[in-house]
């Protein structure tokens, strides 16, 4: 009998909880031995659970270059996330993963100029890539990040962005919020429009993550600017239960989002039924 | 003219005159028995069929169909008309948009009963009213209709139409014997508690939780069933604990009590042939015994005794041990 089965999780412990926005918290997780539970690649996911409540799949927000712990930025929007938002430091959780195909950070992305576009909690999966690139800065070209949220309070990782990202060389950060608010001096407007205004050259490789409507209009905008579909990537989110391509739930066309994704190139998505 | 042609003509006539936009009826399948409910339009009446293998009760489809634009004609067998009325009284379907044509029914047949006679390759099944002529495995045999009736048609409740704007009846429909309807329920009542528990344990242990009984049931029209609600704590899909199946079927029976018209679809569609209709029929019998005769769906105005308080209602304690 095998000692391991993918469906049997390990126990991990939450060592830090940070409130990012009114409905997003970032959880720092280590194994019971105090070490990082497993090694992952940017864009991969893991199943978290509190037994008795249920399991759910979340993208790993921390960069693989972080050797101490994993981080998950989680928005409160369902049964499991609601309970996760109520836990305190020291709470044990169960964990299995990492799952899915990561962003091609060491192959396709290497040496390229990169444009990241995120909306709301959509920054969570991209933060893993962005920080990976910051830590291996010499392997990549110029970087532009366009990130927007409904309000300034909804911008995830605002502190890290302001204090750290903005100080990196050849690393431009463009923040925007949907509507004007008193204490905000930055840009106001929707992400897809802002992407066009920023005017990043169409030779960049683009990575999108956010609500479907944002993806749709940003994609259209990028194509208008002359970006090629083979240079545009996104990450999908569907209902998943097993995380290993067996339970059938995230099946779209001949792909399983949990196993063959969640990261897809736009040319791959074009070949799939429009069901994501 | 045969009933099939009359029914088709009626559909054509209504569609051609523009009195209705769509017709809800049955469509011929690939073999002698596998007819399916279907929507027909003026331009496409291909495969239109009405014969002894049109058991599906079309009433429930009207919940969605009558929300759509335009008028729709529906063909209903006598027992289906009760479901229709019940749905109208529960405001689930829009009567104004629907033309009801009542159809003669001599009792629908169950292909499974034919195959269970041992036939392997069936070429043809012909309806000779009292007898059914089967051509199969190189021979021709006549079987009495009663022996091949769908479970929902055994002990038919009535051949009267509860509602119909028009009817198509060629051959006289014999009114069923009222006494036979509850005969099986009475037998179950005569059992000891242990025997009865064993009977249901045995039957319900076959349940595969496919939800066919619920999804077909014209009385089950909740937009979000409690058994599908993850927050309900009882949204089980598992059959590991056999108590769960009992709970599922018993809760369902309670929920439709007083509203179930006894159309028998639950038993007809059960892949494991669990006689689920007997649970509902027991409730109907109890309602009759305790509150006087009541047939759900007979009218759209009469209140179901379980939701209608009268001073003459018997006390719960009087029912116990009855």
């Amino acid at each position: 009998m095998n000692n391991l089965d993918c469906l049997i999780p390990i126990v991990a412990v939450v060592t830090d909880i940070r409130r990012d926005t009114p409905d997003v918290k970032t959880f720092r997780v280590v194994g019971l031995d105090g070490k990082k539970p497993f090694i992952h690649k940017p864009g991969q996911c893991a199943m978290l659970s509190i037994p008795g409540v249920g399991e759910a799949l979340f993208s790993i927000t921390s960069s693989p270059t972080n050797e101490k712990y994993l981080e998950f930025s989680i928005k409160k929007c369902g049964c499991v996330t609601e309970v996760l938002h109520s836990i305190e430091v020291g709470q044990q959780i169960t964990l299995r993963g990492p799952y899915g195909r990561p962003f091609p950070v060491d192959t396709v992305f290497a040496k390229k100029d990169l444009l990241f576009v995120a909306g709301g909690i959509g920054l969570a999966p991209l933060r893993s890539v962005i920080n990976y690139i910051r830590d291996k800065r010499e392997n990549y070209g110029k970087v532009a990040v366009v990130y927007g949220a409904r309000t300034a309070e909804d911008l995830v990782d605002y502190e890290e962005i302001e204090k750290e990202w903005k100080n990196v060389k050849d690393f431009d950060v463009y923040l925007t919020i949907d509507r004007e608010q008193p204490d905000w001096t930055g840009h106001v407007g929707f992400v897809p429009n802002y992407v066009k205004e920023v005017g990043v050259p169409n030779t960049y490789t683009a990575v999108l993550c956010g609500p479907p409507i944002m993806i749709k209009f940003t994609l259209a905008g990028l194509l208008e600017l002359g970006f090629k579909k083979e240079n545009i990537y996104t990450t999908l989110e569907l209902r998943m239960k097993c995380g290993i391509g067996k339970c059938g739930r995230c099946n779209v066309g001949d792909k399983y989002v949990c196993k063959d994704g969640p990261v897809f190139c736009m040319t791959e998505l074009d070949e799939l039924p429009d069901e994501y | 003219m045969q009933i099939q042609e009359l029914v088709l003509h009626k559909a054509e006539e209504y569609l051609a005159s523009g009195k209705v936009d769509r017709v809800l009826a049955w469509k011929k399948g690939e073999t002698f028995y596998d007819n399916s409910p279907a929507i027909f339009t003026k331009d496409n009446l291909n495969g239109f069929v009405y014969n002894e293998f049109c058991a599906p009760n079309l009433s429930k489809y009207l919940v969605n169909e009558s929300k759509k634009e335009g008028k729709i004609l529906v063909f209903l067998k006598p027992c289906d008309t009760y479901s229709f009325n019940q749905l109208v009284s529960e405001h689930r379907i829009d009567r104004e948009k629907i033309v009801v044509i009542g159809l003669e029914c001599q009792g629908m047949l169950d292909e499974k009963k034919i195959y269970n006679l041992g036939f392997k390759r069936i070429e043809k099944v012909e309806d000779g009213l009292d007898n059914i002529i089967i051509t199969a495995d190189g021979q021709q045999v006549q079987i009495k209709r009663e022996e091949l009736l769908s479970v929902k048609c055994v002990d038919c409740k009535s051949k009267e139409f509860a509602v119909a704007d028009e009817t198509i009846v060629v051959n006289e429909m014999k009114q069923p014997d009222k006494n036979s309807r509850f005969s099986v329920v009475s037998e179950l009542e005569k059992m000891t508690e242990e025997e009865r528990f064993k009977f249901w344990q045995n039957e319900l242990s076959k349940c595969i939780r496919c939800n066919a009984c619920r999804n077909v049931c014209p009385a089950c029209t909740c937009t979000h069933c409690v058994f599908d609600n993850n927050k309900s704590g009882i949204a089980g899909k598992a059959n590991s604990d056999s108590f769960e199946e009992k709970l599922y079927h018993i809760i369902r029976a309670y929920h439709v009590a007083g509203r179930c018209t006894d159309c028998g679809e639950c038993s007809r569609v059960c892949p494991e042939s669990i006689p689920l209709h007997l649970i509902n029929r027991k409730f109907i019998k109890d309602i009759n015994d305790n509150y006087g005769e009541f047939q759900a769906g007979k009218t759209v105005s009469e209140h179901n005794p379980l939701v209608d308080y009268t001073k003459g209602d018997c006390e719960p304690k009087e029912m116990v041990g009855k």
């Binding site: - | 496919c210 059959n239 569609v269």
Partner: protein, 343 residues
Amino acid sequence: MYKIKLSDLDKLYKAISEDYPLYLPIKKAGEVNYGLYGEDEEVSLTTLKTVKSPKDAFFPQSEDLVNFKVDGNKIEVIDVRKEEQPFVVMGVRACDFKAFDVLDRVFLVDPLDTFYQNKRNAAIVVTNACTEPEDSCFCKVFGIDASDPSGDITTFIIGENLFWRANTEKGNALTEKVKGLFTETDDKIVAEEQKAIREKINSLPNVNLDLTPFKDEMLDIFNSEKWGKLSEACLGCGACTFVCPTCQCFDIRELTKNDGTVSRFRCWDSCMYSDFTKTAGGQPRTTQMQRYRQRFMHKLVYYPENNEGVYSCVGCGRCVKSCPMHLNIVKVIKAFDKGGKDE
């Protein structure tokens, strides 16, 4: 090749069940399903189609994955897997046997599903040739020969006898244990019967279904207007998926037991159910047509795309018999047949 009189089969069942748990078609309350042999059970080996397929033997309708003890903010993981003891599944038809291969390609590919694998390895499969195939059978379409199923042992019910042929080492080992009940025989009668079976199969109505349209562009099939009409009467129940020998979708759920232990189990799920793809954030398949299409696209297009052209249907015909509204895969295949009638 060995044989045993049908009237002596009880002795065979008893002999096998002394050494192994024995699962085979058993009649209960009028219907036949695979169940554990016991002397009081009514075995029905000649039943062509059990209501549920034998996939439960490896992929039970519900099974515990793992248990948890929760104490304050502490969690203990309890591995509930036990060493699987060898067991025998008898009476498996050729279609259902092929379905094990379809399931293997899901559960035995990396990452391995040990719950499935452990049961699969522990099983001794005794197949049973279909001497009396019926109208709803169309296994031939998928290249299955119902007259000659494989498995560890193959049996044939011919006249008054059951013929027994071991195919594998596991099969030989089981045969050795029960050989005393058999008489030796040549395979002449079996060969003749096989010929007769193949003739019967060729005369069935659905054995010449054309699958080539499903090799067309995936998106063309997906976007076909035919799905609307085909799915019109679908109730969204799970009858077809639960009786199907190849359907493998499952849900993972939890149950808190009376002693506080949390049991995490998996149970069959159905892509026909409205909540199958529902998330806190949305629902990619909002109509029954989309769900219906997913089921058949998966069986006839997506699965073959990922599995060297192997279809996720074995033509057992259970869905043909059990759909409450008589919708089934045969109608889908025929609707896409270019020579067939156009809807």
